[in-house]
């Protein structure tokens, strides 16, 4: 216990790194995923199939394989990312696949009649999306998306394997000095849990906020 508390200052940098990585991955993948999801749901066939293939493929490979491929594999193709950006790129590419699917599910859960009603008052495609479909889809998008965000935070621990100094790597460094793995791993588990638990609490708050019937 003593060891865990004393080690806290040494974990701060790593914790910040974990949060930075999670934040970047989550925000970039949200933007790209929503754009690709829009293409998947509403786009023409030539757009549908590449996105469909991408999403299925990327979600079907272990994230560690993806991280190693980007970091150790891409330099052979002339693309040399340092370990931080390789980690961001790999995790984002993976997360985009989830965002696409969550977006697709949320949008398709909105009944087609909403589109018809919106057409009937003269809204264009983008207006229908912005003012009718997406505001309703948000409610169904949030819970699975926040799950995906929590996964991203957890998945970010893998980047320590390519030497990114995140929370996980800091924990291992401390263990390397103290030879007391148990308290440190428990501490790490608690920190990850606190982050993710606050995320799911936020999710529940947002769900209530976006429900159509006031409580």
């Amino acid at each position: 216990m003593q060891a865990a508390i004393e080690s806290l200052p040494y974990l701060v940098d790593g914790l910040i790194m974990t949060l930075v990585i999670s934040f970047l991955v989550v925000s970039i993948s949200l933007v790209i995923g929503v754009v690709m999801g829009t293409g998947l749901v509403f786009g023409p066939t030539w757009l549908y199939w590449p996105i469909r293939l991408y999403s299925d493929f990327i979600r079907g490979i272990p994230i560690l394989v993806l991280i190693f491929t980007v970091y150790y594999g891409l330099p052979a193709l002339g693309l040399n990312l340092d370990n931080f950006w390789a980690a961001i790129a790999a995790l984002t590419a993976f997360k985009v696949g989830h965002v696409i699917e969550v977006f697709r599910g949320a949008v398709q859960s909105i009944h087609h009649s909403q589109t018809e009603a919106a057409k009937a008052i003269g809204l264009t495609f983008w207006q229908r999306l912005a003012f009718v479909i997406l505001p309703q889809a948000v409610r169904r998008f949030l819970p699975p998306w926040i799950n995906a965000v929590a996964d991203a935070v957890k998945g970010s621990a893998l980047v320590s394997l390519i030497g990114v100094a995140d929370l996980m790597l800091d924990i291992q460094k401390v263990i390397g000095r103290t030879y007391e793995p148990m308290p440190l791993y428990i501490l790490g588990a608690i920190i990850y849990f606190v982050i993710n638990y606050s995320l799911s609490a936020t999710s529940r708050r947002l769900e209530t906020r976006y429900s159509y019937v006031r409580e």
Partner: protein
């Protein structure tokens, strides 16, 4: 007859091998209310949906205020589907009220009516808000303006649906079996609103199963069966003195003579 506001000429439509509209033609004068009646599957709802291109039509032409709804003629006589923007502009002038209301569940009654006014008509929020309240008042719901659709009864939701359509000042209003999903005791309040609109000169095409309503509200009744218009004439002629055998059958199945003579 004045320049018709809606002109339907030889419209054909099929879903695969199933032909739903066969050479349908009709004209509707400004201010006229036309009721379309007929058995399920007769094509009446499809015809209505073709008028604002929620369904495409295969052949023929539908013009609203002189403008072909779905297609643009491209010089050489062939026709091209209209783009998204053009279509939205045309639909803005054609109001539609749906059987199952289809209000936007995330918006209040007032916001439901305002949406088209702000985003399509380009009105300021305050002006749109006033227009919305005016129409909610007209359908008797101004005290429910801040309610979400889920907090309203079916009849109230449908009246918001009417307000949403009428607030856009459409050239023609399409009503698609707007009372079919309502409990019987809620039908009256909705029909009353429609009757007042008819009296004020709103051009309306009404697909309905309510024969008494068709007769009261409509100047004219059209009977469709099997994708064909079989009768088209003044309400009383069509409903009280049906000449076509199939219409006679349809009406007697509805026991209409009784209802018309003795009331409900």
């Amino acid at each position: 007859m004045p320049q018709p506001i809606v002109e339907i000429r030889n419209v054909n439509k099929s879903f695969g091998k199933n032909i739903v509209l066969r050479d349908v033609s009709m004209e509707i004068a400004p201010g006229q209310t036309v009721s379309i009646i007929g058995p399920s599957g007769s094509g009446k709802t499809t015809l209505l949906r073709c008028i604002n291109l929620l369904e495409t039509y295969d052949k023929g032409s539908i013009k609203v205020d002189g403008v072909e709804v779905g297609y643009r003629n491209s010089g050489n006589g062939s026709r091209k589907p209209r783009g998204e923007g053009e279509l939205a502009g045309i639909r803005a002038d054609i109001g539609m009220v749906f059987q199952l209301f289809f209000l936007f569940p995330h918006l209040t009654a007032r916001q439901n009516v305002m949406l088209g006014l702000v985003k399509v008509r380009g009105k300021s929020k305050s002006e749109a808000g006033e227009i919305a309240e005016h129409w909610l008042d007209r359908v008797g719901l101004v005290d429910k303006k801040e309610s979400l659709p889920a907090e309203l009864s079916g009849g109230q939701q449908q009246r918001v649906g009417i307000a949403r359509a009428v607030a856009m000042s459409p050239k023609v209003l399409l009503l698609d079996e707007i009372t079919s999903a309502l409990d019987p005791e809620l039908v009256g309040e909705v029909l009353l609103v429609v009757k007042r609109l008819a009296e004020e000169g709103m051009t309306m095409i009404v697909v309905t199963h309510e024969m008494t309503f068709a007769r009261e509200v409509g100047d004219r009744v059209v009977f469709m069966d099997g994708g064909l218009i079989l009768e088209d004439g003044p309400s009383d002629d069509v409903l009280l003195r049906p000449s076509h055998e199939r219409l006679q059958g349809f009406l007697s199945r509805l026991n209409l003579a009784d209802i018309l003579e003795h009331g409900l």
